[in-house]
């Protein structure tokens, strides 16, 4: 053993390592001087690494919003443990410290050195000193240095050591069993962070796949399968070892995976939407870029356009010297096959050559000429969807293999020159290595600047934290009570990001990286209902200064603190949020919410009183139909139960009120006409393949249920329309077009039959809307074909057939007469289907949902009719309270009824039209500009005008004083492009102005103004009608509850004086993993969501007793940890035993 350390080569290698580590440490000090820290941009680099590590021990993270499932993240324990260790060594609590950067890059270098040292006899001694430099300093590694992507680095470290062991197994220097134990231990420490990092194993999969293919070919050629067998045993045992050692992470997540996440892997919609992401990520990964070690997605804004905001990418696009050097990389790398001297080298270099090319295929994603193959695999191999960012996920295999080729070539060149002069051999070799390394560093010169941490102009992850943030961290982490802190102002609405003027920016909040306390903000972890209803509501009430309502919402949501941050990005900054002073003014006016403490630009306000996590109730309000924010008017003081959230009868004794929201049936019929974009037909009726296409369609039609047939026929109608459009463009023989038109008539007949047989087509608004949606596009297209501009060269037969289709479409629309064909009618007439369950049922109409006159007074319906099963009665509006009118009638029959609200003609609010010309990227536009008279908040207006034929109009809303940003052209947000082809048409478009300054622009490209007439604008409104039924007061008394929170996943609950059934509420987000059990764990209770997000259990047990609430996944973590620890102990004991035995 000692002899080994006398080996001069080993001493030299150690010295080289030492020199590199000194160099790296100096470099890290340049990157991150004193007082600087890496954080933000979803790096997971906590500002309190100890606190963050502690949260990773639990399957539920109650700190985030209403709580989130943490079970997929147990695997990150090793990673955050290393973060914590590094922070201890660095002497500060931050994970993004210099020791951490040094550790990861240093370990990467060491593992590359071990890998290279193992191959020194085959690939040359100089290979050892060159290869690690290529592995550490390249664009793939440095692309993510700004977030110190430990998961990626960890996997690459593990891959290098795994391959070292694999080669040792092949050389019979180690047994497969030994090697697999070492390999399992390596993947235990460098496991990629968590299950969510599984895609990063893509590189390893490609290596293993190539390795097996290579060995299989070799085995066949040599007619000896021993090597393949040894490697297969090694791989299988490594996999088993990996499973055992990572059981603590795999087992808790298995439950979540099989109950919900597995469906995502094969969901067609998710696959389709992720396909766009694959294309986006692959946009720069062409083979020519990859050959040059480039192709980083961040470098590109489109296929060939550089991202100018990237800190160094543009240099590699523009500097001819750097471009020249980049082309040397593939020449040198693939020159390695020319330098092969023996069969060992041939085997290794051809393996790494093959690996380079195979990994290139995967890294390139959908970008390469073989992209169709990648797309096929992506769409058809179950689970492959996880590799939706191919460059990042397969890059490790590519970087490793190309580095081997490069290093071998350069090592061979150095060897060649050093052999010439035996005396000067060492000097020449040393000089050669220095030239190679310094040349590589010169080419990557931008890596040595702290600018690499900039990910966007003005935004870097290398930050100097303000002192008040650190003060807040210390203060906040000392608090022990459960109270959520509401982040004020809210996060940016579009990005849902947390950004500060001093540079922090991330989707995960700064608070998350900073504090162990619970916080609440409109983050991405919330679902639409939580974000749009609960969070928006509390922020709106805060802005309106309604202290009582803020307090009530806070009590419901468990909010006890308000953190006012005056340093967030606001005003005109990118990803800005609302101005903090708006909130500061209101908070300072509040009486019961008082300022508790001030930390520089941060102020903490506290709401008096306690907010226990566990409470009981015996009174609920049931909401039927969709829940909208205005229903909080009825539910401010009581708990809310949604009708669909529970199915059991036992809940009815608790109900104090039912609120039923009614849907306006006629409103969709007045919506804007949508033109469906037809997909281009590649196979037309004059093709032999067309029969196959029709056969496939018929087969699909046979296999669907009767209910689905209607939508299928609509789909086929659109497909044939697309066929005809393509045939007309290509001038295909009329007989084929007529054939398709006949098919359309057949489909229309089928649709007609289905609609005629439906229950009541004359009053089925939903079916009518469906027909309107699907038929609008074909109708418009065929009508256009008969216009004087297009009809000229069509045969009589073709004209007749098109006319017949239009006639049949007209007949189809007549099925729903008078629902469609009279769209304007629905602007003033609103129809609702009612169900009257009880004679005490009250119908209410929300005042603010009524349209407004120019003087901002409400426009009331001039006629209200309720059509019952037996009689039709008139109704009137009477005052109910501040926000609602009551619809009163003399007699309201039980059962189904129809409510009709008829409004007078709404006033035309369009005014002050003027002409203007504006610049845009497509050239001059001539515009007519007007505005809406008396714009009110949150209201939508419909612009309507007649347009002359042959115009393309661009209609948009914009502040005339803000047409251009400081950088020039401002993208036209919400611009609508309206095409008028052969006939004059009435066009309409809806707009939602933000302020009275917003004007409507109707523009046309060029110097000619749009030719339009009869322009008008009126409000689009949907009156909100609800039914309210009050129940007699129940006399159920909830018991007294006290509890002890053991940890974020476990509560011991004590119930006293339970005389009646009651509901136990846990103020954490609903998750089926939460379980309530009796103390002996034999009894379980009905579990359902309450208050739109929280957990509730229905309990009917009398007396005093104890209960336990547990988060199931935590138990699986304990079981998994036990298995992992036993496995770890077993492996280590085996190794120690064998070591001493030897």
């Amino acid at each position: 053993m000692l002899q080994k350390f006398k080996n001069p080569l080993l001493i030299l290698t150690f010295s080289y390592l030492l020199v590199f580590l000194v160099f790296l440490f100096s470099l890290v000090n340049i990157w991150l001087p004193e007082d600087y820290v890496l954080t933000g941009h979803d790096s997971g680099l906590a500002l309190d690494s100890k606190m963050f590590l502690q949260t990773r021990l639990f399957a539920w993270d109650e700190r985030v919003d209403f709580g989130v499932d943490n079970s997929p993240l147990f695997g990150s324990l090793t990673l955050h443990f290393l973060d914590y260790l590094s922070s201890l060594l660095a002497g500060n609590p931050h994970a993004g410290n210099k020791i951490n950067i040094f550790f990861w890059l240093g370990t990467l270098f060491i593992s590359a050195l071990i890998f290279a040292y193992q191959l020194k006899d085959k690939l040359g001694i100089y290979f050892v000193y060159i290869f690690p430099i290529f592995i550490v300093f390249n664009f793939y590694i440095f692309q993510s240095l700004f977030i110190l992507e430990r998961a990626k680095y960890g996997i690459l470290i593990a891959i290098l050591l795994f391959l070292t062991l694999s080669f040792k197994v092949l050389e019979k220097k180690i047994t497969p069993v030994y090697a697999s134990i070492f390999s399992s231990l390596i993947f235990f420490v460098f496991n990629g962070g968590s299950i969510l990092a599984l895609p990063l194993y893509g590189g390893l999969l490609v290596i293993v796949f190539t390795f097996l293919i290579f060995l299989l070919i070799k085995s066949i050629l040599f007619k000896n399968f021993n090597d393949l067998l040894r490697i297969t045993i090694f791989l299988v045992l490594t996999f088993l070892g990996f499973i055992v050692l990572n059981c603590y992470a795999l087992l808790p997540y298995a439950n979540t995976f099989f109950s919900s996440d597995s469906a995502f892997l094969t969901n067609a919609q998710i696959l389709a939407s992720n396909k766009q992401w694959v294309d986006y990520i692959s946009q720069g990964s062409s083979f020519i870029n990859l050959f040059r070690f480039q192709g980083v997605p961040d470098w590109f804004t489109s296929r060939y356009i550089a991202n100018l905001t990237h800190s160094y990418a543009t240099n590699y696009f523009q500097d001819p010297i750097l471009i020249f050097f980049s082309f040397l990389i593939p020449i040198i790398a693939f020159g390695s096959l020319v330098f092969i001297k023996n069969n060992h080298q041939r085997m290794l270099i051809s393996f790494f050559g093959l690996l380079t090319l195979i990994s290139m295929f995967f890294v390139a994603g959908t970008r390469s000429p073989l992209g169709f193959l990648f797309e096929f695999i992506y769409l058809n191999v179950p689970g492959f969807v996880i590799f939706r960012s191919p460059y990042y996920k397969f890059g490790s295999a590519f970087v490793l293999s190309l580095s081997v080729l490069l290093a071998f070539s350069l090592s061979s060149i150095i060897l060649h020159f050093s052999k010439r002069d035996r005396k000067m051999k060492l000097l020449i070799a040393g000089l050669g290595i220095i030239i190679v390394v310094s040349g590589w560093f010169t080419y990557h010169q931008f890596f040595f600047s702290p600018n690499i941490f900039y990910w966007r102009e003005e935004f870097s992850t290398r930050l100097n934290l303000p002192n008040y943030v650190e003060d807040f961290r210390q203060w906040s982490n000392q608090k022990g009570e459960f109270r959520r802190t509401l982040l004020v102002p809210p996060l940016n609405e579009t990005w849902q990001s947390d950004g500060y003027e001093w540079g922090y920016w991330s989707f995960s909040t700064l608070y998350y990286a900073l504090s162990k306390q619970n916080h609440l903000g409109n983050t991405q972890s919330l679902n639409g209902q939580e974000s749009l209803l609960l969070l928006d509501k509390i922020y709106q009430e805060l802005l309106a200064g309604n202290e009582d309502k803020v307090i009530k919402m806070s009590e419901r949501l468990g909010v006890g603190y308000f953190l006012l941050r005056k340093d967030v990005l606001q005003d005109k900054a990118w990803s800005a949020t609302l101005p903090s002073q708006l909130f500061e003014e209101k908070l300072n006016q509040f009486v019961k919410i008082k300022k508790e403490k001030e930390f520089g630009k941060w102020s903490v306000y506290k709401l008096e009183g306690n907010q226990p996590q566990l409470t009981t109730t015996s009174s609920l309000k049931l909401v039927a139909g969709s829940f909208t924010a205005d229903l909080f008017d009825f539910t401010e003081d009581e708990d809310i139960l949604l009708e669909n959230d529970t199915e059991f009868e036992s809940i009815s004794p608790f109900l104090s009120q039912t609120i039923r929201s009614f849907e306006c049936l006629s409103c969709p019929l007045e919506e804007e006409e949508i033109e469906i974009g037809l997909s281009w037909s590649n196979v037309l009726p004059n093709s032999l393949l067309y029969r196959v296409k029709i056969w496939k369609e018929n087969q699909e039609l046979k296999n669907i249920s009767q209910q689905e047939k209607l939508t299928s026929y609509y789909g086929l109608l659109l497909k044939r329309t697309a066929d005809i459009e393509a045939m007309l463009r290509f001038g295909v023989d009329d007989k084929y077009i007529i054939g398709s038109l006949s098919k359309i008539n057949e489909y229309i007949e089928e649709i007609h039959n289905i609609l005629q047989n439906s229950r009541n087509p004359k009053s089925d608004y939903k079916l009518a809307k469906q027909l309107q949606y699907f038929i609008n596009t074909p109708e418009r297209k065929f009508r256009d074909e008969l216009s004087p501009f297009k009809i000229g060269n069509k045969s009589d037969k073709l004209r007749e057939e098109i006319s017949l289709v239009l006639w049949n479409i007209n007949q189809l629309e007549n099925v729903f007469e008078p629902l469609i064909n009279n769209r304007d009618k629905w602007a003033g007439e609103k129809v609702y289907d009612l169900v009257v369950p009880d004679l005490k049922f009250k119908l209410l109409l929300r005042k603010s949902s009524l349209p407004l006159q120019q003087n901002s007074e409400y426009i009331f319906p001039n006629k209200i009719t309720i059509i019952g099963q037996d009689a039709t009665t008139s109704a009137q509006l009477s005052e109910h309270n501040k926000n609602w009118f009551e619809i009163t009638t003399n007699s309201l029959d039980l059962g189904a009824a129809t409510l009709r609200l008829s409004f007078p003609t709404l006033p035309n609010l369009f005014q002050s039209i003027r002409e203007t010309r504006t610049d845009s990227p497509e050239g001059i536009r001539s515009c007519l500009v007007g505005r809406i008279n008396s714009v009110a908040d949150e209201r939508t207006y419909r612009l309507k005008f007649d347009a002359a034929p042959n115009q393309t109009l661009h209609v948009f809303l914009r502040d005339p004083d803000d047409l251009y940003s400081k950088d020039g052209y401002r993208g036209w947000k919400d611009e609508k492009v309206l095409n008028v082809e052969s006939f004059s048409r009435t066009l309409q478009a809806n707009f939602k102005p933000n302020s009275a300054k917003d004007s409507i622009f109707i523009c046309r490209k060029g110097e000619d103004l749009p030719i339009i007439d009869n322009i008008g604008a009126s409000e689009v409104f949907i009156p909100h009608v609800v039914g309210v039924l009050n129940y007699n007061e129940n006399f159920l008394t909830p018991p007294i509850v006290s509890y002890q929170q053991i940890d974020p996943t476990r509560y011991l609950v004590k119930i006293e004086n339970a005389d009646d059934p009651y509901i136990l509420k846990l103020n954490q987000r609903f998750n089926s993993n939460w379980e309530l059990k009796s103390e002996d764990r034999n009894e379980k209770y009905e579990h359902f969501p309450i208050n739109l997000y929280a957990n509730a259990w229905w309990i009917n047990k009398k007396g005093d007793y104890d209960l336990i609430i547990e988060y199931k996944a935590q138990k699986l973590f304990y079981i998994g940890s036990a298995i992992s620890l036993v496995g770890l102990f077993g492996m280590v004991t085996f190794l120690v035993y064998r070591f001493f035995k030897k």
């Binding site: 290579f214 070919i217 070799k218 050629l221 040599f222 062409s286 083979f287 020519i288 870029n289 050959f291 060939y304 001819p320 471009i323 020249f324 082309f327 593939p330 020449i331 693939f334 020159g335 096959l337 020319v338 092969i340 069969n343 041939r346 085997m347 270099i349 051809s350 393996f351 050559g353 093959l354 090319l357 290139m360 390469s368 000429p369 590649n682 093709s687 032999l688 393949l689």
Partner: protein
Amino acid sequence: MSKKLLELEDKIKSWISQHRFRIYLFFILGPIILILPSVPYLNLFIEYELSIYIVFIFGLLVLDLSFRQIFILISLLLLVALFFFILDEPEDAEKLGNYIYGILLIWIVREILKIRSEK
């Protein structure tokens, strides 16, 4: 001089004789591959550029070039790609990159198969 010419002629003859089947195959299949993009239905899958690429690779296989010769060819193609890059024509450079990838793939597989011959 004439002797050298005769030797060269002999070498060429011998080369043609050794590779005659490949040459026949090339002259039969080459034109067929070139007209594939004009054949209905097949043109859905095979573009003109792809057919030229296949014939090009086929030609290289007929010539039975060593990896050293292929390496020189690849280096030249990369040099041309470099000029396209500097002239701000990345699309053309990309096409060359794709050709280089295909050539390398075939020749690396050939290298792997050579392992046996040197057993």
